[in-house]
Structures are given as C-alpha cells and as structure tokens.
C-alpha cells in the first residue's frame, strides 16, 4: 500500500534521511520512533510529496507526487496550519470540495463530535487554541477517508480526551483497511496500538520491530535506548 524505496534526503550538505526503505500494508499501524533530529518528519514530508528526494515512493502503485496518489493519502503536519479567516466548518467544506468528496456531511458531524468541535463550527481558524487547531487539522485529514494517512507527532498539544479519541481513531482507520504511519518520539503514546515500529537514528532505520515478535512490556523502550544510545 505504501512503498518507500531507497529514499535519501539532503538539506544542503546535511544528510537527513539515508537510503530508507520500508513498506506498510493495508490495515497496518506503523510507527516511526526516534529521538529529535532522527529524520522522522523529513521522511513523512518526503512521502507527502513536500520535499524533493532521491529514491521512490509509491502509494497503492502510484508515484506519491501524482494526482492519483494525492487522492489516496492524507497528512497531518506537526504544526497545524489553518486559514485564519476560515471557520472550522468552512475548512471542512473547502477540503471536501478540493478533494471532490460526495456525501461527507454525516461523517464530518461524526468526527466533529468525537473531537469536541461540534459547538465550534463557526469559530475562525485563528480563534482556536493550539490543541483545537490540531484537532481540526486531524479532522480535515480523515474527512477524505484516505487509504494511507501520515501523522507527524499527532498528540502534541492535545488534551487527554482527544488523545484517547485519536488512539481509537487509529484503530478504526486500521480496521477500515487504512495504512497508518505515525511519527513520534514519545514511546508511551503508541504503546497499545502499533503493529510495526521503525526505530530511526541519524537518518537511518536502525531497527524494525514487529508486534508478533515482542514479548515483554518494556521491550520497545529497551530496544529504543539500545539503538539510539541513550539510557532509561
């Protein structure tokens, strides 16, 4: 469903992502785990088509920068970027039209309800708190019912209820057959939901873990520190 092959990204002379390859299948939740500066956001941006890179990225067989691929994936950036002058409702309307969505109203109401945005539909983007902006950013991304969804540090700024809802959403997306890729550096935040973990360090995938291989509760944390050189 998502196939990343030999992706390398330089910022000037700095090697941010070094020959990364992985695949994520339908109905799978994969985590990019790594310390700050490991290259997690960079690889997500490469997949989203926001950066130039060497290598290839395919989404359901389409090159990631093609219009066909853009119809299939969504991206939730680390920092929500909303339009100041558009209300919450108008953001959804805009996305629905830009992606040519039909019959989205019911689903929209449902996700608004889940993220406590139902009573804020007339609020402007700039009037929302950072957490609310993040919630709206998530809502606009799931509205398109993507086949592949990329989350960059999605829990930043969210309240405990929203985090709980978001985790539930991850699982629902998985059940619906969506390939979910989440970048984070907080191990606890993805404890119960992951299928596969790619531990990133210095631009490389330093280790891959599969849920079926893990036995102990602390195994992810132990592997993370072993790979990245830190201590618990």
């Amino acid at each position: 469903m998502l196939k990343v092959s030999g992706v390398t990204k330089y910022y000037g002379k700095l090697l941010a992502v070094d020959e990364i390859s992985f695949e994520i299948n339908k109905g799978e939740i994969a985590i990019l785990l790594g310390p700050n500066g490991a290259g997690k956001s960079t690889i997500l941006k490469c997949i989203a088509g926001l950066l130039r890179y060497e290598g290839s990225i395919y989404i359901e067989g389409h090159l990631n920068k093609s219009i066909e691929a853009k119809r299939l994936f969504s991206y939730v950036p680390e920092t929500p970027a909303l339009y100041d002058a558009l209300t919450v409702e108008e953001h959804m309307q805009f996305i629905a039209k830009a992606y040519r969505l039909k019959d989205y109203e019911e689903y929209k109401s449902e996700i608004f309800e889940r993220f406590d945005l139902s009573d804020k539909t007339e609020k402007l983007g700039r009037e929302l708190s950072k957490g609310m902006q993040q919630k709206l950013s998530i809502c606009t991304s799931v509205l398109t019912r993507p086949s592949v969804i990329l989350f960059d540090e999605p829990m930043m700024g969210l309240d405990p209820k929203a985090i709980k809802e978001l985790k539930k959403l991850f699982l629902e997306l998985k059940e619906a057959g969506c390939a979910v890729l989440i970048s984070t550096h907080i191990i606890d935040s993805i404890k119960d939901i992951w299928d596969r973990i790619f531990i990133m360090h210095k631009g490389k995938i330093a280790s891959t873990m599969d849920r079926s291989e893990v036995t102990g509760d602390n195994e992810v944390e132990e592997r993370f520190f072993a790979v990245t050189g830190g201590t618990r």
Binding site: K70, L82, F94, I95, K97, A98
Partner: protein, 518 residues
C-alpha cells in the same frame, strides 16, 4: 550593552554566512551593490537637465506632501501598537538583567537596518530623480539623512504616543482624532483656494510649497531639510535639522526614563508585529492581519483546484474589502483629479494615468494572496495539476485588477469622454500588466525562495520589469504613432502582456508542486 552588540554582530555575520552558501543570491546582491556605487558616481556627474527639471515649487510640494503622508500614516499606525522588537527579543532581552535604554537603542538600530532597502531604492532611482527634480550635487546624502531622521523621529514619537495612550482608555481615540484634525486643518486651504481659482493642481502646489509651512512644527522642519536638496545646505537647513535632532533625543530620553513601563507596552506591540510579519509573509496585507472578519453566507461550490479560488474569494469577502481596496479608490481619485487638472488631450491623460499606475504597481511591494497559499501544506496535497492550482491561486488577484482597472479607467475615461474601445483596451493593458508582475513574482519566488524574493522583489521589479514593460510598450507606441489608433496600440500591448504572463506561468509553476522551490 555588549550582549546586545553581540546579537547584532552575530546576526549580521550569520546572515552573510548564509548568503555565502547561496552563491546565486550573493551574486544578485553584489550586482545591486555595484549598481548602487555606479548610481552614486553617475548621479555625482549628472547635471540637472534644464528641460527636464521640474519647477522648484512642484518639488517643494512633493516633499511636503510626502512628509505629511509619512507622518500621518506612521503616527496613526503607531497607535495600533508599534514595536521595534521581535518575540525573541521579548523572551530573551526583556527578561534579562539589561538596561532598558540599551535595549531601546538595540531595537532602534534594528529598525534603521530594516529601512536600508528603502535607501537602496532611493539610491537606485536617484540619477533619474536628480535630473527630474533638479537636485544639487551632494543632495543624495542629504536626502538619505533626512529620510533616516524622518523614520527615526516618527517611530520615536509614535512610541511615545502609544505609551501615553495606553495609560487611560479613550486616549487612543483622542490622539487619532487630533492627528486627523491637524491634517484636515493643514490641507484645508487647498480646496478653499481651488474653489476661488478653479485650479486644484495649482492650488495644491501653491499651498504645499508655500513658506507658511515653516510655522508648522515638525512638518515645516522636515520640509526645510528636504528642500535643502534643491536650495543647497544653508543655515536654515542646519537649524531645522537641529530642531528635529533635539526633538528626537527628547522623545528618546522620555522613553528611556519610562524604563520597564515601556516594555509592557512594547510587549503587546511586539506580539502584534509578529502576527503582522507572519501575515505579510503569508501574503496577507498588514491591515488584514488585524482586521475583524465579517460573518458571510457563502458556500464553496467549485471543486478541485477552483475550490482554492472560491476559498480566497470567501476570505476576501470576510475582510470586507472584497475586490475594491483603498488603493483602488485612491487611484480613482487621482485619475479624476488628473482629468480635471491636466490641460492635455483626453486620451493622453488616460495613457499617462496608465503609465503612472503601472509604475506604482511595479514599485509597491505587495505580496499576493497566492503567497499565503504556499505557506500551507494543503495547496500541495490537493489532487489537482499544479498549473490549475497556480491559476486558481492567482485568479482573485487578477480579478481584483480587472475591477480596479474598470473602476479607474472606466470612470475617468467616461469623464474624459474617451472612446469606449480605448477604455476597454486600456483596462486590458492594466490587467495584463498586473498579470506580468504577478507571474514574474512567482518566478522570483522560484529562483530565490521566500525571504530573498521579498527582499529582491523591488530591485527586480525596477530593473527587469522596465524591460518587460518595454516589450509591450514599444510596439504599442509604434502602432499608435503610425496609425494614431490608441485602441489598436493598447490591444497589442494587452496581447503581448498576456502572452508574457502565460510564459511566466509555465516557468514558475514548479512553485505550486514543490514547496522546496518556494
């Protein structure tokens, strides 16, 4: 103080280091530097041409008008919360055990540095101005000094007014009313005289160049200093410059003694400035960033890339400006004044207006709404071809030009009884010229990135845009000269401009498919 000098020094060094990493941009800056030096040398050798130099009274009137405009605009804007600082300064400096006055000087130096670009512009245009206005040798340095003084003084006075206004509710309104009342009183003799003589242009020039202004504090002082460019530096210029220096130092001492009180005021101003800078970077005007949005009933109905167009139209409607801005009305007023005041052939007046407004369009550094789109990831993710996204993002700006052109040239043309075909084609030239600038800006963005394209925009607009405009203007002039058919000439210019716009669209389209190019 040493820590503040450290910030300034390191910022400068780091910016230069950054430039060294981008040789293409560095070369452009070096060329600008060389042009400035050449400009200074050429202007030193250029004698004011007798047949071009304007009447000294007109030059005096232009100076006084400019000073009035800057003072009114700057002081009124400062009441909205002016600040020299950025949020990093607030977080690091305002909380540090540093002398408040030193921090103020630091902010002041930064503010002055920000005006360097304007001075570059002055120096590049200076040889033309010297010939046109009949400036004396050495006048360029006097103008730079006067300009720095004008910016410094209005900024300081603005901060004093802002700090004072915050002490009690209602003071802001009082000060703003006083500023506007003073301007009305200062300009009142112009319409009074115009009614008597029936000549608005002459009345304006007569009043703004009259010696009575020396009795008006600040405006009169500045007027005298600026006029030194034509009259030479005499005791009068020195005396007025010293008044202004004393007034600036007094304002500075006042702020210095307010100590931390000022910082409290500066904090809100800085937050506002930060928001404004972000807005400007994202392609919104400063006014929009602090404007309240209206509630409007509007549904986005178009699909795909055209949803971007409708979103922008929705945003425009919410600001209340929609397609007619203050600039449009100002240009229309200018057109009507020209229609009544200029003793020239009617179609020639309209042609001059077109030239003047195209020049304004060129030198006014306006970020278009398309730049705002590039700051959000949505534009890159929307499943539509980049060319369509580019078209949809720039269409509101082009529509605005169409409305503006129709308003200015339609009304002025009707007043002047110009043939409808000429009016229509001149509107076409106005809109297509705007198109050339819009898509040329996108190419600049592609070549130099956001920050540098903003800095270099004025430079490129002045140099290359003249060439670009000539591509349409020269054939149009030849056609008009040969056939005496203005409509045909303007039609040719509009077609050439449209062709250029399409060419630039194709060259700049990468900006809408790859954020790294923007």
């Amino acid at each position: 103080m040493s820590s503040l000098i450290f910030i300034l020094r390191r910022s400068l060094i780091n910016n230069i280091k950054e430039l060294l990493k981008k040789p293409g941009i560095l070369i452009v800056y070096v060329i600008i530097g060389l042009l400035m030096i050449t400009s200074a040398i050429v202007s030193g050798r250029t004698e004011p041409a007798e047949h071009i130099a304007l009447d000294p009274n007109i030059v005096k009137a232009i100076f006084t008008g400019y000073i009035l405009f800057i003072c009114t605009f700057s002081l009124a804007a400062s009441l909205g919360g002016g600040s020299y600082f950025r949020m990093a300064d607030v977080n690091f400096l305002f909380t540090a055990p540093l002398n408040a006055g030193s921090i103020l000087i630091y902010g002041f130096v930064k503010q002055m540095a920000a005006n360097i670009l304007v001075m570059v512009f002055i120096s590049l245009q200076y040889p033309n101005w010297k010939r046109m206005f009949g400036f004396l040798n050495g006048a360029g340095w006097l103008l730079i000094f006067a300009y720095i003084l004008l910016i410094a003084f209005t900024s300081l006075l603005g901060m004093v007014l802002y700090s004072w206004a915050l002490r009690k509710p209602g003071r802001k309104r009082i000060i703003r009313s006083l500023i506007y009342a003073a301007i009305v009183l200062i300009l009142l003799p112009i319409p009074v005289q115009a009614i008597r003589t029936g000549d608005l242009l002459k009345s304006t020039v007569d009043w703004l160049s009259s010696g009575d202004f020396k009795y008006v504090p600040v405006i009169g002082w500045f007027s005298a200093v600026f006029q030194g460019a034509v009259t030479g530096i005499d005791i009068n210029v020195l005396l007025n410059a010293s008044y202004l220096l004393i007034a600036s130092v007094t304002a500075f001492i006042y702020l210095y003694r307010m100590d931390t009180d000022y910082f409290e005021d500066a904090l809100s101003g800085t937050e506002l400035k930060e928001a404004m800078l972000t807005s400007v970077r994202e392609g919104k005007t400063t006014a929009v960033s602090i404007r309240r949005y209206r509630k409007v009933n509007y549904r986005i109905r178009l699909e795909g890339s055209m949803a971007i167009f409708q979103k922008q139209m929705l945003e425009k409607r919410k600001t209340g400006i929609w397609l007619v801005s203050a600039r449009s009305l100002l240009f229309l007023a200018g057109g009507l004044i020209a229609a009544f005041a200029l003793p020239l052939e009617n179609v020639l007046i309209l042609t001059i207006l077109l030239g003047v407004y195209a020049y304004f369009m060129m030198i006014i550094t306006m970020a278009g709404p398309w730049e705002g789109e590039l700051s959000s990831h949505y534009i890159y993710l929307i499943p539509a071809p980049p060319l369509n996204k580019m078209f949809a993002s720039t269409l509101p700006g082009i529509l605005k030009l169409l409305v503006e052109g129709t308003l200015i040239f339609g009304i002025t043309g009707i007043v002047l009884k110009v043939h409808p075909l000429v009016i229509l084609t001149i509107i076409g030239v106005y809109v297509s010229t705007g198109g050339v600038f819009t898509y040329f800006d996108i190419i600049l963005r592609r070549l130099f990135g956001r920050m540098h394209s903003n800095n270099l925009r004025v430079f490129f607009r002045i140099f290359l845009s003249f060439v670009l405009l000539a591509v349409a203007a020269v054939p149009a002039s030849i056609i008009i000269a040969l056939t005496q058919n203005y409509a045909l000439g303007f039609l040719a210019a509009a077609i050439i401009n449209t062709f250029l716009s399409f060419l630039f669209m194709l060259l700049g389209v990468g900006v809408f498919s790859n954020p790294e190019l923007s």
